[in-house]
Amino acid sequence: MAMLDCKEVLDHLSEYIGGEGSDELRKAILLHIARCGRCRIVFDTTGKMLKIVMDVEPFEVPLGVSARLYARLEKVLAEE
């Protein structure tokens, strides 16, 4: 596979992080990021960002929002 430039390497970021793509493509990306500090940091920190988003405490529906939803549904269910 021909040498990839920064733009091409970046286009395959999601595939690479998701463990997808052919062996050949993954090798070409590895070769690029071994030499290019800027892309290496982008790949590394995007991976870290995804890990943080996955690990962060689950999002909660605010109590008032939830209570108003149940109140409205209670009415709808009673009517139908």
């Binding site: 970046l10 286009d11 995007t46 960002m49 988003v53 999002f59 909660e60 939830s66 549904l73």
Partner: protein
């Protein structure tokens, strides 16, 4: 990614069957199970809690009234999320200050990422859980709408690319390209928040510094200086 438990589709199907058989109370179980996801999605499309709440209520009312139209080929989650996105999109279009998709950021990320500073090995160790969650939420909310909705469906709710494409009415390549841009933008947004939020240890040092100054001033006062 927060992938649903393997038994989830069966559970949903059982609940839907019960509702169809005349047990409306089973719908409450469906609501409890999915309200978090639906609110998250409507918030992602609309960007403010007030509109998102209204869209969430309309989503469940519509889902209840049309539950007979649910086809078992799709996951219940996909069906419900699609209703939520449609309800939210209708509200977005109806809003006075509606911003077109192009203006919402489609052309914004043509350039390469500009932040090229390495992060700390494990940023999660430097901040409290609440603080980390606030920074993540804040960063998600800062994304342009079209990237925010793709990011939330794929990376927060863990839907497959095919499901996200079906829900948003986009092709698979379009979803992939939006997700890439969304991730790059999210990386920048979170990096900015990590840079500007002092870590726990820095805050302790700062407080200790302030206390030292106060003690020194009191001592000076006490000795009459």
């Amino acid at each position: 990614m927060k992938t649903p438990e393997p038994q989830e589709p069966e559970d949903d199907l059982v609940l839907v069957e019960r509702v169809l058989a005349g047990d409306p109370r089973s719908f409450e179980t469906i609501v409890r199970k999915h309200e978090r996801r639906v609110f998250r999605v409507t918030l992602a499309v609309l960007g403010n809690a007030e509109d998102a709440e209204e869209a969430m209520q309309d989503t469940f009312v519509k889902a209840y009234r049309h539950i007979g139209q649910f086809r078992r080929e799709a996951r219940f989650t996909t069906w419900l999320t699609k209703i939520a996105v449609n309800e939210a999109l209708q509200k977005r279009q109806a809003r006075k200050n509606f911003v077109s998709l192009e203006e919402a950021g489609e052309t914004e990320v043509k350039r390469l990422p500009h932040r090229s500073q390495q992060w700390h090995e494990d940023p999660e160790k430097l901040y409290g859980k609440q603080e980390m969650r606030r920074m993540v939420e804040d960063a998600i909310q800062s994304l342009p709408a079209i990237y925010r909705e793709t990011f939330v469906l794929r990376d927060v709710e863990g839907l497959r690319a095919e499901e996200a494409a079906e829900i948003l009415g986009l092709t698979l390549p379009a979803i992939k390209s939006r997700l890439l841009r969304a991730r790059l933008l999210m990386r920048e947004a979170l990096a900015a928040r990590l840079e500007e939020t002092p870590t726990f240890s820095k805050r302790i040092l700062r407080t200790a510094g302030r206390m030292r100054e106060m003690i020194a001033m009191k001592l000076m006062k006490a000795v009459g200086q």
